[in-house]
């Protein structure tokens, strides 16, 4: 069963809102069939995301497909109000359409070992 969560509105000072649709489950069943999504595959393993810089375009829908190799890492983007668990053995998909150019930090928020505190990256949204 797919769990679809509308992660609400994050209102910035410029009153720009970013809507992130997060779906947890198999990619094939969760992805909207728009065909216009920018797809980025991300591998998570102790203690790094590859890539750890994800470049997206403002206003363009994106689909992040996570595969974790060794642990239920987390993926949290505080300023986009996104967080999911990344259990190994399946693809975890996050849909988002960033509205505003900028740099958004993400991190693993499930303590995963000695290098956990360095497990982080950035989503870079360009105009």
């Amino acid at each position: 069963m797919d769990l679809q969560i509308s992660k609400g509105w994050k209102i910035g000072t410029a009153c720009l809102a970013i809507l992130a649709l997060v779906s947890i489950g198999a990619a094939h069943s969760a992805a909207p069939k728009t065909g216009k999504e920018r797809v980025v595959k991300v591998v998570a393993k102790r203690f790094i995301y590859t890539p750890n810089e994800i470049i997206l375009k403002a206003g363009v829908p994106a689909r992040l497909e996570f595969t974790s190799l060794d642990f239920v890492h987390g993926f949290k983007v505080p300023d986009l109000d996104i967080r999911v668990d990344l259990p190994p053995g399946k693809v975890t998909t996050v849909h988002l359409t960033p509205q505003k150019a900028g740099v958004y930090d993400f991190l693993c928020d499930n303590f995963c070992g000695v290098g956990h505190e360095e497990m982080s990256g950035k989503i870079i949204v360009k105009d």
Binding site: P78, D79, D105, L107, D109, F111, C112, G113, E117, S120
Partner: protein
Amino acid sequence: MINRRDFMKLSAVGGGAVFLSGLSQITQAAAAYDDFYFVQLSDSHWGYQGPANPEANNTLRKAVETVNGLELQPDFIMFTGDLTHTTDDPKERRKRLTEFRDIVSDLKVKNVHFIPGEHDASLDNGAAFKEFFGETHYSFDHKGVHFVTLDNVSDPGASIGEAQLAWLAADLAKQARDARIVVFTHRPLFDLVPKWDWATRDGAKVVQILMEYPNVTVFYGHIHQENHHMTGHIAHHSAKSLVFPLPAPGSQDKRTPLPWNPAAPFSGLGFREVEAEDKPFQLKITEFPVTRA
């Protein structure tokens, strides 16, 4: 240095969302019957080896000596987590916990309480910690103050969880509404810097429970520096560490340790006294460095 008293007036009765800070002298004479003080130690990260603290093998011992040298000994001591530095090896974790316990057993005060930090507990859901120090959340009463400890680290995702939330609500329900309540936990219960993982995933639910009580103060660790924050009428005070200071909240990209300063070793490290005054009830914080100058 040891005589300098920074103090803050906290949790003024009647929803006082104020704390006064400044330099002053607190007289310890003529304490009323119910006045007492405790010491908060935090984040010793025993087992850490790295450039941020080349004296990591000595820092905890020095802190123990300094506490033992306090003229008036505290009623009790509370360690708010990250007793040890994390290791992926369960045997090494127990070795570090053993060494930590041996060192702090030299404290003169024998009434010592412990809670875990994520470095102690997140990789085994608190199993090793419990072997050494027992439960990870509990409550106790001391001279008219109700103390509650909360575990936001045994879950690797930093959740307190429904079971513990229910326990907290039930524990507090036995208290009078205006009871004097002090909470100890490791991580901040509010979103301090989420991108640095300075948060508790369901911390808002704790704060919601605590909000029912007008007289609550939270002491925590995790962020390796003093920080004072209000959520409504509840004051949250983080403690310095005993290993290395971390940058001010959100002040830089990564939460990398501040570099060791050979000209001022142990700077930015320390512990605190919290004095509970009876009439009117207030908590006064005094910060101490690790070593006597």
